[in-house]
């Protein structure tokens, strides 16, 4: 039996906001694949739960009239991976979430939970920040939107007040139309493993030049991060093997990996450099680019 002290089931977003506001110690539970594990291990910070598992209004994947893709936070990784909209327009996200856990975990775990945990290894985070995704947050004072990148404040810290809840993840059409991407997760096993390093690259090419590049890494800093220094340096350059080498050599200035029991800092830097080359190369090839 899990050892939590109180449990309230929210029927909708407004009720969830009210229940969170009433108890300063309350935590949301959605898919449960992180929180129930922590409860099993006896972590006391999840003594009071607000259950949003069955809130239907938070489970959707749609496209609006402007072509923006909007994902409800309760969409499971299986729903995201198999969504025709996502596979057609932002396949990098489907590719990334299929590397998470195994089928049973992906059937339960939600994309919103993955983001709100705020861990640097969240595999759905790097493709979404490479796609310039925005998050919508609702609380007792109404609704606000912010870039997903700024949502991550530190390890296990996100920009949510106690009474707030993530209600949507939006990828604007301008941020994915004509862009192509690639994702790679470096881990010790092919499944059921946490990223040693995760890498997402999204690019737009024209007439043999790299018009735009958005490159993101997971576990390369206290939060999932973009390599903006590198991105600024290479925008507009001719697509050549030298360009890929320059990208690989530049990313170490954008990242801040650390040593943990999973991998040493020097090893992580080596993986980051290698993945920068290979993942950008594959993204360019996916865009129909020729590297010469």
């Amino acid at each position: 039996m899990f050892n939590f002290k109180s449990y309230a089931r929210a029927g909708g977003v407004q009720e969830a906001i009210r229940l969170l506001g009433e108890n300063p110690e309350a935590h949301l539970i959605a898919g449960g694949t992180d929180i129930l594990v922590k409860l099993h291990k006896g972590k006391a910070q999840f003594d009071h739960l607000v259950d949003i598992h069955d809130i239907a209004e938070l489970n959707f994947i749609t496209q609006n009239d402007s072509g923006d893709i909007i994902i409800g936070p309760l969409a499971s990784f299986t729903q995201v991976a198999e969504s025709e909209l996502i596979c057609r327009h932002i396949p990098i996200l489907s590719q990334a979430v299929l590397t998470i856990g195994g089928p049973q975990v992906r059937n339960m775990a939600t994309i919103g939970g993955n983001l709100c945990n705020g861990v640097p290894s969240a595999d759905s985070a790097t493709p979404l920040i490479a796609l310039n995704a925005a998050v919508t947050i609702e609380g007792r004072n109404g609704s606000r939107q912010m870039p997903l990148e700024s949502f991550f404040l530190g390890p296990s810290q996100v920009a949510l007040e106690q009474h707030e809840i993530l209600t949507a993840i939006t990828i604007n059409r301008d941020n994915y139309a004509d862009y192509f991407g690639h994702f790679h997760k470096y881990a010790m096993r092919e499944a059921m493993d946490i990223s040693t390093i995760g890498c997402s690259a999204v690019c737009k090419i024209k007439d043999g030049t790299l018009q735009d590049l958005r490159l993101a890494f997971g576990v390369a800093a206290p939060v999932p991060i973009r390599c903006k220094g590198t991105e600024d340096k290479v925008r507009g350059r001719k697509i050549t093997p030298k360009l890929l080498t320059d990208i690989a050599n530049s990313v170490s200035a954008d990242v801040r990996p650390r040593t943990s029991w999973r991998a040493a800092k020097a090893f992580r830097l080596q993986i980051i450099t290698t993945l920068a080359y290979r993942v950008v190369e594959q993204a360019i090839l996916n865009a129909g680019g020729i590297i010469q």
Partner: protein, 157 residues
């Protein structure tokens, strides 16, 4: 913290009271006597507690029993009918895909769901392995398990 829930388990409708702190694993084993559902790791890594909820495989150890309200649950106890094993169960027997046996019910349910979802030719062994990646066999008898699943996919009917 008790709540009533209604669910269908292996074809039979049930109305039971569960504690909101209980996992579905505990309720299936302790209240309904379905001992095929094993607790291995209890953290969603081993898949020994795999059951199908509305035909979707999940780890019953990481699923609150109250979430099962209104759902249809399948465990290995309900897979054979009139003494006849399901195709997947029979394939596990035929291939000898069982060693110590503790992972077997979970593997049978994960394989059952995979076969039902991927009923098409040319599913590779690699795809099957990915489909069964949420289940561990500590005896490492994976090859015969993958072969059993493959055999079901290759069947004509």
């Amino acid at each position: 913290m008790n709540r009533p829930i209604r669910l269908t388990v292996n074809g039979k409708k049930k109305e039971i009271r569960v504690d909101v702190r209980q996992s579905l694993l505990e309720v299936l084993r302790e209240k309904l006597g379905l001992l095929s559902v094993k607790q291995g790791c209890a953290v969603g890594e081993c898949g020994a507690c795999t059951v199908l909820i509305d035909d979707v495989p999940i780890d019953a150890c990481l699923y609150l029993a109250v979430w099962a309200d209104g759902k249809t649950i399948r465990t290995v106890e309900g897979e054979s009918h009139d003494g006849k094993l399901s195709r997947v169960q029979q394939a596990f027997v035929d291939e000898g895909a069982v060693q110590c046996g503790i992972c077997t019910p979970g593997f049978v349910m994960a394989a059952t769901s995979f076969v039902e979802k991927h009923k098409q030719p040319n599913v590779s062994r690699h795809d099957i392995r990915r489909g069964l990646a949420g289940n561990l066999c500590r005896c490492t008898g994976y090859d015969t398990i993958v072969t059993a699943a493959q055999k079901c996919l290759d069947d004509d009917d």
